[in-house]
Symmetry: C2
Subunit: 221 residues, 2 copies
DNA sequence: AATAAAGTTTAGGTAAATCTAAATAAAAGG
DNA sequence: CCTTTTATTTAGATTTACCTAAACTTTATT
């Protein structure tokens, strides 16, 4: 596999993420937003990654990963998620602390180390935020059937993942007692602002904004 | 503590190493050799590190770490050696494989993570090559009394550290059955090329070059 | 002490990854 | 369908960490 700089790896990862989120072709602007950089920088990098055959790219037509690009992305994501598992399971970090650290650890590229790490952790299938971990061949266990809470139909739900990994959201969820596996009862949906009133276990009901419910992935039980 | 780039961290680490090896003031050339770069680049970086008050430096007079520079160095070395322990103890790498990987892992700068890693490993005092690990306050357990094998006087010795961490040397030592704690009997010293004939346990005697014996640190038993 | 050799610095340049400002293309709205 | 808005690209700078070649110090040698 090609040797990618850290910057290149970050671009590949972000393109993969935006494709996953449903963008047919990833736009320069969207990518700049995701990477917190400027559109002009994205255009520059797009040319380079096209040169390396990691993306398909035509002026003004957006970006898509090639098969090789996808492979690279999955390898980076694998490393990222395994390190998150390590930080939570072994170093006892809580789930809101690990994303930033894993952003750095993921760039240490050694297949041998990655595979040993996986083994050491018991070959985990999902990371602390509920996301599936690609295997050594780059095959990603398809996520369990899941819907963002704001679109879920049932009243009884279980939290299976969180799509926003920002410290802010995860700390909020901690405070509310929401984690992976938590069972939620939807009490009321307010059309006005799309907020949702819900209840978990024996605690008093509380309300969350659409902003939050969009990022909680659930499945019915 | 200041925010250092990876390049800056590597310079600091190398300066520390050369100072330890006895250089009163570290020369531009020596540092260029250590970092596998060119003297002109060292001069450039020296100016920057002086600006940041991490080194003392005057044109043509060589380089020394300031107190702050020393602190930074010890923090990097702590991370490096803890990761080496992790790789050997937990991921079951052998001692010749871990130096390069730790060179990358060491640049992930998080005190919290470093301290948790240390705890997770049982607060080890020495790394897989026998070098002491600085504690969270940057205090380095002074190495046990040790001499390079080529200067040792006694006939019965124990290996306490290896100063060259190159894969080549460590693989050679593996092949010969020399590791930390190994007991060595010196059979003969040949003045001609300063090679040493030695014997370990029940194995047949063999000879090592001065190049090798210089890098094996021993203590008498 | 003069000169040669070795070590170090300066000057000027390059590549990667950014940026701003200006130019250009695509999309959206009347 | 023409114009305005939005998105994207180009051009030209900047920063970091390098480099080479030439100039300059220091040290060693006659």
């Amino acid at each position: 596999m090609m040797n990618l700089s850290i910057a290149e790896e970050n671009y590949i990862k972000s393109i993969y993420k935006l494709e996953e989120e449903g963008q047919e072709a990833v736009s320069t602007n969207a990518l700049a937003g995701e990477l917190d950089t400027k559109p002009a920088s994205v255009t520059d990098m797009a040319k380079k990654l096209k040169e390396k055959k990691l993306i398909e790219y035509e002026k003004y037509q957006g970006i898509n990963l090639t098969a090789e690009g996808k492979k690279a992305a999955l390898s980076i994501i694998r490393r990222h998620r395994l390190w998150e598992c390590f930080l939570v399971d072994k170093l006892l970090f809580s789930w809101e602390e690990v994303h930033e650290l894993a952003e750095e650890l993921e760039h240490v590229r050694s297949e041998k180390m990655t595979n040993r790490l996986s083994e050491f952790l018991g070959n985990p299938q999902i990371d602390p935020h509920g996301d599936p971990i690609p295997d050594a061949q780059g095959k990603m266990g398809k996520p369990r059937a899941q819907t963002p809470l704001h679109k879920a139909k049932s009243k009884r739900l279980e939290v299976v993942a969180v799509s926003d990994k920002s410290t802010a959201l995860l700390e909020f969820l901690n405070a509310k007692g929401i984690r992976l596996g938590t069972q939620i009862d939807v009490i009321e949906r307010y059309e006005f602002d799309n907020s949702i009133e819900l209840k978990i276990r024996n605690q008093p009901a509380f309300t969350i904004s659409e902003q939050v419910s969009k990022n909680i992935m659930v499945k019915p039980i």
